[in-house]
């Protein structure tokens, strides 16, 4: 179960990372924004994004979980969830 506070904190950080990588204004981004379809992410962007997420949240994102990250909302939910779990580092 992901708390509201943690979700909001993660959402703010995820939006900041995405805004920097895609050079967008944070106000343009919502939970429904689709990373590939709406932001036009290509393979280089995806890897950059994953590297930035791992660096920002200090958690690993394995291959098999990447396809879950379709929208910003999916990403926030996923990261908030792995942050709630004990670190595997």
């Amino acid at each position: 179960m992901v708390g509201e506070v943690q979700f909001d904190e993660v959402y703010a950080k995820v939006k900041k990372v995405i805004a920097e990588v895609f050079k967008k204004d944070e106000s343009e981004l919502t939970l429904e924004t689709r990373i590939i379809d709406d932001l036009g992410a290509e393979s280089l962007d995806i890897i950059t994004l994953l590297m930035e997420f791992e660096d920002t949240f200090d958690r690993k994102i394995p291959d098999e979980d990447v396809e879950k990250l379709v929208t910003i909302g999916d990403t926030v939910q996923y990261i908030a969830q792995i942050l709630a779990e004990p670190s595997q580092k």
Partner: protein, 229 residues
């Protein structure tokens, strides 16, 4: 028996710690020496050594040779040439596309310093402004990237050995001078970011202590294992 962090230097190249600079010039052509810095031991087994003494006094350290330490791994030779070719052998590149002659310093997980001597018979001089032959900036960046490649390979955990690494992006590049024959280019590369997906480096090239190129380089892994570098 304590574990220490090891840096590898070649004397006479103007790089390294104050220990190197303290040495008289007459001793600056010694074979490769292992300089011991107290700290946690390195994860990478090929560069992990066990020192038999708790702390070496500084005088002893200045004169220490590889033979003073017990090398745990057989595949890293104690001779300069073999050690240099060992680390350069981590790269998939081969002649004529290797732009590092020697690794001067390698701290897995942290940084690398490598050199390239520019000679008059470099293949690129024949076609790159033949009248005023110089090393093209693209190859200067390639040299920094290859140094970064050695750093990544030396930093990979055991489970990721053999993973291909691809040069992915270059940012904030600045080239202020093209190396010419006779120049010795020193590449310095250190990690900015590490993740299981990609790594980012700060890289620079200097000649006679003056920076001639700087850039941020990003490399990604050819297959994923989800292991953090």
């Amino acid at each position: 028996m304590n574990l220490f962090r090891i840096s590898v230097f070649e004397f006479g190249c103007g790089q390294g710690t104050s220990l190197v600079r303290q040495r008289p010039a007459s001793e600056c052509r010694m074979p490769l020496l292992w300089i011991v810095v107290p700290g946690s031991h390195l994860d990478h087994k090929r560069l992990t050594f066990v020192v038999e003494k708790t702390i070496l006094p500084q005088e002893k350290l200045l004169q220490a040779h590889a033979s003073d330490f017990v090398c745990e791994m057989n595949d890293l030779s104690k001779t300069e040439g073999d050690a240099a070719s060992h680390v350069l052998g981590m790269l998939p590149h081969r002649f004529p596309f290797v732009f590092i002659d020697r690794v001067l310093e390698l701290l897995p997980g942290e940084r690398i310093v490598a050199l390239k001597n520019i000679s008059t018979d470099e293949g690129f001089l024949r076609g790159h402004s033949p009248q005023n032959g110089s090393m093209p900036s693209g190859l200067l960046i390639e040299g920094m990237a290859q140094a970064g490649g050695v750093l990544v390979f030396a930093s990979l955990p055991d489970e990721m050995h053999g993973t291909p690494v691809f040069f992915m992006a270059i940012d904030h590049v600045q080239v202020t001078r093209f190396p010419v024959p006779g120049d010795q280019v020193i590449f310095s590369v250190s990690f900015l970011k590490k993740s299981s997906w990609a790594v980012k480096f700060a890289a620079s090239a200097t000649i006679n202590g003056s920076q001639v190129c700087e850039a941020e380089l990003t490399a990604t892994f050819g297959r994923k294992t989800g292991k953090k570098v």
